[in-house]
Symmetry: C2
Subunit: 363 residues, 2 copies
DNA sequence: TTGTATGCGTTATCAA
DNA sequence: TTGATAACGCATACAA
């Protein structure tokens, strides 16, 4: 890191103007200024004009913190969002959707990344609650969100996203994971595949369970059974995914197609296919879309989640509860967002395709 | 979207406990509770224990809003971050780094997306200022940030990121863009290329200017001149990038290598190369790393920015100013973060490479 | 149409 | 070591 020269500065560090300052300058009471700030119409146009002028001159901005304390309900017009990792594209899209929905309703979003650590999740929630957020949207980690019971009991709205909150009753917004893998399975079956390998994340994860379930049900419905040797769960890193994919493909009766339970697994499986020179021969469908997916050869067929819809729906649900009276709250619900299969090539390779001529050009 | 059944609820919607409640329960004055909350050591251990017990029972959480009003300095322990689009991976990584740095210092981050619209940027800043953020980190849009002068004058720290703020004096943290394209040019020259095409974003963008400059300077230093026919600026969409790349490659004396000024341009250029069956023949280097870059064939050589370092540095700079006295502020600086060339294959294709046998399998 | 008094939850001052 | 009280910036009820 290099530094470049520049000029000094001398900030005044003066206190920000308050309503009292504005009132004093105009020569009216603070209450009249308050009326103007809050848009009441029972102010003389002249007075209003002079007050507005003074506000501009003094660069006055109402102090939301102070007003929140006094205002009935004590709302802060802010909500907390706990994601797993904001740098992850899925989570980032989610955060964007939530932030936009909130901003439309004049609310701000406090965002924190738990990194999948339940303790960090709790710390973040604690920080947000200290800031008096009006509600929480949480991508839950671990298997126990009962620590939030005290908050839901006192009426704080909480919406879980992507996964279900456990040991607690609350709303949740999730993708139709099972339908996604089921669609993928049927798609592969339609292209002649009968042996479809499945690579899934840790069994403890809600999404991993749901996606596996969709795979198994679709397969059972169509072919009557699932070959357990084709299923590898608890795959949690790119390296593990590559290893398990290699194992599957190197077995006696290898799969002609692979279904990958998430992005990282897809990358690992692609590494394996590439190393074994099977990219053109073995079909592959990934869960979650990726930026360059359409530029791979063959282009990557994926089950895509509607991430903006997930975020928007979660925020809408939260605001629904926020705006409802305590005695007329709707029952908790699980809201399910549809997913879409996007065929791009890798999922349309037919079963038993000959290795065209196995071209690689990696460097 | 489908709904699933669940059970009703009946939240009490009770007011959150205050220090007064805690004091009443223990039978001490509110001030003593305050001392415990703020970790002062002049409290009798017994009293402290009883107070801490009561706080737990009542689920007491200090109200930061209220404390902020009274506390001298009036700090809110929050900062505002304006990015272009939080859903964009670069911006998401940036936000994550800033949020982490802030959290380490007990500060929270308010995040908003301007979508490159200067007016939206100003609106977001206004919202943040109403929330009394202690400082701002901004990815500036447009060519005029003078509207922030009133804030810097009163001592509010502002750090610009990724681009320079214009018509205003403030700190800025940017990548060493010129060095990045210069490195890329030298890399291509070393692989025998003499005709290197450049595709850049809108000339109005700081990053586009800096990157073009690096390209031109490196080329002039090595070969004595820049062929203007090889440079296409103001390319702002994938479609435009594909079109310009096609035009360059279809010209009389076409480039043997392409240097792309950003991610979208890279994607467009890859489309063009793929359509013309030149992926194995024409070298390509992109600016900014992408998730699946190493899985393309050939894998994508890129100039990668150290996004976490950018975010961290910006936050550190902001807190430096936040913690310094008004009369001992350092001069404004432009902090430059190094970039790294990551060779993966596409940038190492030699000049005049024969079309191996032009294999495509796009579908 | 405008102003006064009081209170929100907390911290700061000063006294006990 | 503890407490009474004023003050922060604003909103609310009520009075003028």
């Amino acid at each position: 890191m290099t530094n470049e020269e520049s000029e000094p500065k001398r900030p005044a560090a003066t206190r920000a103007a308050t309503m009292k300052d504005v009132a004093a300058r105009v020569g009216v009471s603070i209450k009249t200024v308050s009326r103007v700030v809050n848009g009441h119409d029972d102010v003389h146009p002249d007075t209003r004009a002079r007050i507005e002028a003074a506000m501009k001159e003094l660069n006055f901005r109402p102090n939301v913190m102070a007003s929140m304390i006094r205002r009935r309900g004590g709302r802060t017009a802010s909500i907390g969002l706990v994601v797993e990792d904001l740098a992850n594209p899925f989570m980032a899209q989610l955060a964007r959707a939530v932030a936009d929905s909130a901003l439309c309703r004049q609310h701000l979003v406090l965002i924190g990344s738990s990194d999948g650590d339940p303790e960090r999740e709790r710390e973040l929630v604690a920080v947000f609650l200290t800031r008096r957020v009006d509600g929480l949207i949480i991508v839950p980690s671990g298997d126990d969100q009962s620590y939030l019971k005290a908050e839901t009991d006192r009426g704080l709205p909480i919406v879980f996203v992507d996964r279900l909150g456990q040991r607690i009753e609350a709303d949740a917004v999730v993708s139709d994971n099972a339908s996604g893998t089921a669609q993928a399975v049927r798609h592969l079956l339609a292209h002649g595949h009968r042996r479809i390998g499945y690579l899934g994340d840790l069994r403890g994860f809600y999404t991993a369970q749901a996606r596996l379930q969709g795979y198994e049900e679709a397969l059972r419905a169509a072919t009557g059974g699932v070959d357990p040797r084709l299923v590898r769960m608890d795959v949690h890193t790119v390296a593990q995914a590559e290893q398990e994919a290699r194992a599957l493909l190197g077995s006696d009766d290898p799969p002609t197609a692979l279904l990958c339970g998430n992005n990282l697994i897809t990358v690992g499986a692609l590494h394996a296919l590439q190393a074994l020179d099977l990219r053109q021969k073995v079909a592959l469908i990934g869960f979650d879309d990726q930026d360059l997916a359409h530029l791979l050869t063959p282009a990557l067929t994926v089950v895509a989640q509607d991430v903006p819809a997930i975020g928007r729906t979660a925020a809408e649900r939260l605001f629904l509860r926020l705006n409802a009276q305590p005695d007329e709250q709707a029952p908790y619900e699980r809201l399910t967002i549809p997913v879409t299969l996007i065929p791009r090539g890798s999922g349309e390779i037919p079963a038993g395709a000959p290795a065209e001529h196995g071209d690689r050009a990696d460097r």
